[in-house]
């Protein structure tokens, strides 16, 4: 679980390039997203891409009306923080933590829920650094759910260089500035 101590939202290239038959192009995108010129371009991923232990911020749901309404009343509203807690033994339904509740969703449902990476937490710890142009509104709800790694987080403040794995997240913060 040591990996879980750093928030590194992993965004799969499939999210923006879903055509599996064009593998070379896909792998180009994968490398480009990870290390190359496209680093930080992909701002939005989907919930199913979240690795277990990671937390993302919900952006939008793209589901049939009634399902969407139901999920939103269970707490899946924009700006809510969702943590992937564990996968079922067979690997498919994944248990997500939201608002302190544990809710299981299948891959196809989770892949219709868009998320963005969790912003570096220190922004909350040091209010002076809150940037006005961040998508999250000032009146954002304070959810009671804190991911497991939140306690270990403050040490990894903005001044500390993020680790290799969180490259996308740091790029995002840069882009937001």
């Amino acid at each position: 679980m040591s990996e879980a101590n750093t928030p590194k939202p992993r965004l799969r290239p499939e999210a923006i390039w879903p055509y599996t038959e064009l593998r070379p192009i896909r792998s180009y995108f994968r490398l480009a997203l990870r290390f190359g010129p496209l680093q930080g371009v992909c701002q939005v991923g989907v919930l199913s891409d979240l690795t277990v232990g990671d937390t993302g911020v919900l952006v939008a749901l793209d589901l049939p009306e009634n399902v969407q309404n139901h999920l939103m009343h269970m707490g899946f509203v924009p700006d809510a923080e969702v943590t992937a807690l564990r996968r079922a033994p067979a690997g498919d339904p994944t248990v997500y933590g939201i608002d302190g509740m544990e809710i299981a969703l299948r891959h196809e449902t989770a892949s219709a829920i868009q998320i963005r990476p969790l912003e570096i937490r220190s922004a909350a710890a040091q209010p002076s650094e809150v940037r006005p142009n961040v998508a999250r509104p000032a009146e954002a709800p304070v959810t009671e759910f804190r991911p497991i790694e939140a306690t270990a987080q403050p040490a990894n403040g903005s001044s500390v260089a993020p680790k290799r794995g969180s490259g996308v997240a740091s790029k995002l913060v840069e882009a937001a500035r």
């Binding site: 139901h70 067979a90 009146e139 709800p141």
Partner: protein
């Protein structure tokens, strides 16, 4: 409903209630403890367990538990919002709005919220308060919240909601005084509440923002999330250990039902037999004694004997339901359920059908998709319910030798039992697959399941369950089984014939009415290895499966050649091993239960489905029994 109501002034609907308050309704999110509170307030015993969706219909009771027998309390299924998503939620919303035929319009609302997750639970408060009925907000499980370091300012919350708020613990029964206080206040002239700022209703995002703001303003500090639940899940939902433990638990349950339950049942049977012998001198000899002791008592005893084993099974199911494991089982099973076109939610009714198919069919109301729900209803009777247990136990004890394998770890009898359960399960799955790939094909509905936190089951609630189940079982034994036995006994002793000496006497069993009926149907069942006595048993078991056992008890009791033997030995007169195996398979597949047929008729609202289901299952049972009998004959001659 008005779409935007920023400042609704809500007051008790003066016109309808006047000064009298009659109906109070309990509403809240799933698994927030409404039914537990209902039981406390009414003194009734509504089923409670630890998973969302236990209550699937409205239940009414008078509030005798707090001395208000003039008031009706309605318990409702849990809802997330007033926009219903599944059938059970639709029931709740209709009752709340007073649109449910046969259910009185509510005059006041008790909104039950789980204070461990108040922020999200408050989302329901907005639309419920908007309905405009006098509402008392009850923060349930407040004892747990406090012990885990959470806190809330209830006065501020009451101010924010303009509704009285009380902290309670439904399990412990603390804080219930506030409910009577609230109801007494409502009895007088309805006081006008202050206007309330509500979010735009119907918009989940704004409701969530509102709920978050309210919980922040009231200084709500969420309790630490239960780390125990995560830790337990690390094992129970482990990629490798999870399914393995699940299997071990299932095998263990059956081992215990045999290893521990059999001696218990034997002792119980001896006790019942002794009671019969004590009563023998009290009844005048002659036909009355024969009717009461050899007919009725023997029939009832032959079924009652299995009570200890059935209670053991129920104890295990109760533990699974009360701890919160059932929802995890659904999660594990989702992958398998997907291959047959259903989702993991359908697994909860299927699992609870191990106890009884009737509540299981009711529980399918939590399945959102209509076609999925119908498919689940249609396959549920294949699951091995506890009424089959007496038949299996009797036949296994009579025909399967008590051999143990693997140094006594697993017995042949347990294996036989398990394979019967597996047979039912496989039949259910295959049928569901067939249905879902043909007439009930539908697009996948998303699987959305809330996992409750683990809780320790209380001895009290487990005890109540067992007592209720024992009562139901005794009631069946006391009514249906007594009636069937009486009818059988009469049929077995008619027509009265004149013997050579001129005295009246009962006919030979084979010449009696029942014998003639049996011989009439014998050609149909002979290929399965059953003789006419078994045929009579099969006919009577359409009422309820366990009647089979009592029928055999009565028939052997009426036959002088088997009168002195116990049921297991007597069965050897009529059956080969092949016939016994065929009979067990027949019971595994056939839908012999009038109550199940009635509940399917009610839930599907048509006679077509129960009829189709009955004949499909009958055909399958007949075919399988035929095959088993002939294979067994080929092997053992």
């Amino acid at each position: 409903m008005n779409a935007c109501c920023d400042t609704p002034v809500f007051e008790p609907p003066a016109a309808s209630t006047g000064s009298s308050l009659r109906t109070v309704v309990l509403i809240g999110p799933p698994n927030s403890g409404k039914s537990t509170l209902f039981n406390k307030l009414t003194g009734l015993r509504q089923k409670v367990a630890n998973y969302p969706g236990v209550t699937v219909e409205q239940r009414m009771g008078v509030m005798a538990g707090i001395g208000r027998s003039d008031l009706t309390l309605i318990d409702l299924p849990g809802i997330y919002s007033l926009t219903p998503y599944s059938e059970d939620a639709r029931v709740a919303v209709n009752v709340l709005r007073g649109r449910m035929p046969g259910t009185p319009k509510p005059d006041a609302v008790l909104l039950v919220l789980d204070s461990l997750h108040l922020t999200r639970q408050l989302m329901l408060a907005a639309p419920v308060l908007d309905v405009g009925l006098p509402t008392l907000v009850l923060l349930n499980m407040s004892d747990l919240m406090k012990s885990r370091g959470g806190q809330i300012d209830t006065l501020k919350l009451a101010g924010e909601l303009s509704a009285p708020v009380a902290q309670i613990s439904a399990v412990r029964g603390t804080g219930l005084g506030s409910v009577s206080l609230f109801l007494n206040q409502q009895n007088g002239h309805g006081e006008k509440n202050k206007p309330l700022l509500l979010p735009v209703l119907g918009n989940a995002a704004s409701t969530h923002t509102w709920a978050a703001q309210v919980s922040r303003n009231t200084g709500y500090k969420a309790p630490l999330s239960a780390e125990n639940t995560r830790r337990i899940d690390n094992v129970l939902l482990h990629r490798f250990w999870g399914p393995l433990l699940f299997l071990l638990v299932v095998i263990g349950v059956f081992e215990v039902v045999f290893a521990l339950g059999q001696p218990l049942s034997d002792g119980f049977g001896e006790l019942l037999a002794r009671i019969g012998e004590i009563a023998r001198p009290l009844i005048p000899t002659g036909w009355l004694q024969s009717l009461v002791l050899d007919g009725m008592w023997k029939g009832v005893c032959s079924v009652l004997v299995f009570l200890p084993q059935i209670l053991l099974l129920f104890l295990f199911i109760g533990i699974l339901e009360d701890t919160g494991y059932l929802a995890r089982a659904a999660l594990i099973a989702d992958r398998v359920m997907r291959t047959i076109g259903l989702n993991g939610k359908a697994f909860i009714p299927l699992l609870s059908a191990y106890a009884c198919a009737i509540p299981a069919i009711m529980a399918t109301r939590t399945i959102e998709n209509k076609r999925d729900r119908l498919a689940t209803i249609l396959v549920t009777p294949f699951m091995t319910c506890s009424a089959r247990l007496p038949v299996y136990l009797l036949l296994i004890a009579a025909f399967i030798p008590n051999i143990y394998f693997l140094h006594g770890v697993i017995g042949l009898r347990t294996i036989t039992m398990l394979s019967l359960y597996v047979a039912g399960f496989v039949a259910a799955f295959t049928t569901a697959r067939l249905l879902k790939s043909s007439i009930l094909r539908s697009s996948d509905t998303p699987f959305i399941l809330e996992l409750p936190q683990y809780r320790m089951p209380t001895l009290y609630s487990l005890g109540l369950r067992l007592m209720d189940r024992a009562r139901i079982f005794m009631k069946t034994a006391g009514t249906i089984i007594v009636a069937v036995t009486l009818a059988l006994w009469a049929l077995a002793h008619l027509p009265v014939i004149h013997t050579a000496s001129g005295a009246l006497s009962a006919p030979q069993l084979a010449d009696s009415l029942i014998g003639r009926l049996g011989h009439f149907i014998e050609p149909v069942i002979a290929p399965l290895g059953f003789n006419w006595k078994i045929g009579i048993g099969l006919l009577s078991s359409v009422l309820a499966r366990e009647v089979m056992v009592s029928t055999m008890g009565t028939l052997y009791g009426a036959d002088p050649s088997t009168q002195a033997l116990n049921l297991q030995t007597a069965l050897h007169h009529d059956m080969t091993l092949g016939g016994a195996l065929a009979l067990m398979i027949f019971f595994a597949f056939a839908m012999q239960c009038t109550s199940t047929i009635a509940v399917v008729r009610r839930e599907t609202n048509s006679w077509l489905w129960p009829a189709a289901q009955f004949f499909y299952m009958l055909a399958m049972a007949y075919g399988a029994a035929f095959a088993v009998n002939h294979i067994a004959m080929a092997i053992w001659g």
